[in-house]
């Protein structure tokens, strides 16, 4: 199957999660609330959106690690005919591991998104817990920490003159997750972190 077609399997749920994190998510949540009543509540919409985005980030990290491993075996996953070539980026031994520990970037993504998923899942299960607000801040700081790493990886891609579309999607997931954690933190700060429905909140 074409690598870019497979990428769409990640992009679609990523878009779905992103919409739920934005004000447009209310309309989507309302539409889905007939089947899942809790999605009428704004914070439930945000938490679902955040969990979906993080799950996509985790899955795509696993996929990039899989691609790295396959390339090391001598396999080929992405065509290198265009500027979009995960093979050329993930197969470049000079750049495909972190400069400190030598760990594959895919593995680092798995660990990072795993921790973020733990924070978001815990919040989802107990949104009224005392630690929930703290966890949203931890998530925000962790995703903020990801920005310089993303900058470094983009500089590698610039140096190579190639773009790894899978890596870029993982980077985008991190940025969207940062927005999600920030949104949740703001809801806590503004006293909107409750189970009021969209209509109740506006009233």
């Amino acid at each position: 199957m074409d690598a870019n077609l497979i990428l769409m399997l990640y992009v679609m749920p990523l878009l779905f999660g992103t919409v739920l994190l934005t004000p447009f998510g209310s309309a989507l949540g309302d539409a889905l609330s007939s089947k899942w009543p809790k999605l009428e509540i704004p914070r439930r919409q945000r938490l679902l959106g955040l969990n979906v985005v993080l799950l996509v980030g985790f899955a795509i990290s696993v996929h990039t690690l899989w691609i790295s491993n396959k390339i090391s075996e001598g396999g080929s996953v992405c065509s290198s005919a265009t500027v979009f070539s995960c093979d050329d980026v993930l197969g470049n031994v000079a750049y495909n591991t972190d400069p400190v520990f030598g760990l594959s970037w895919g593995m680092i993504g798995m660990v990072a998104f795993g921790i973020l998923m733990f924070l978001a899942n815990s919040m989802s299960k107990e949104p009224d817990a005392l630690w929930a607000e703290r966890y949203s801040k931890y998530g925000m700081y962790l995703t903020l920490l990801g920005l310089p790493v993303i900058g470094l990886l983009i500089s590698y891609e610039v140096a190579m003159g190639k773009i790894c579309q899978y890596c870029t999607t993982a980077h985008v997931a991190n940025v969207i997750a940062l927005f999600g954690f920030w949104t949740i933190t703001r809801m806590h700060e503004h006293g909107n972190w409750n189970d009021d429905t969209t209509s109740e909140a506006s009233a």
Partner: protein, 223 residues
Amino acid sequence: MKYDEEADIRTDTAIKIMALFFASIMFLAFTTDPIASGTKEGQRAPALEGLSYNGTGWTEFSMDDWLVDNWTAGDTTGEWLVVEFIDTDCGFCWDAGSETGQAADYFSKTGAEKWDGPVVNFVANVGELNIPGHESSRDEIIAFRDKSGEETCAKGDCTNRPGNPHSFTYIDDLDLDNMDEWKVPGTPAYYLIQPDGIVAWVSSENPREKVGDAIIRIVGGEQ
């Protein structure tokens, strides 16, 4: 109302996330067989790049251009590669000049006498070791390879190097980028690379075996 009696929720979540993590690791372990990058036997050789001299002029060299990704063992059409790390001011490299030249001509089938196995190409990566008296230059690389010019190599005038002028490619690695990347312990050092880029034999791991013997043993063909 906020409360703080749900430590079990976090434990439960942590267990589920860890289960997902390890399931992913298991998936990777069962579906892939990654080969580490390095210069030990069985590892994937790192990049070998630089300006190279092939007897006519200096052009860009990349070992990737010489490799075949989908090569399988037993495929005799794939061309193997011997990478020789030398310093033109190294006495041992000077002494090995004749033997290496003969082996290159024989195994790469460019000489009068040809072997019947797969083509084994040779390239020499020339570094400038950080030792007093080992100052080198591109002119010296050309002089060592072609036995020409007025440069001074390890044991005197480069034109007096043992053996004939070499026919294989010489790479300028005077800044030692490739040597550092390949973690070359000393010169001369030889690496036999499979057509798919996997290191098949390393001279430092087999000090009693000559590169020609290693090629015959590993690559096959008649003596």
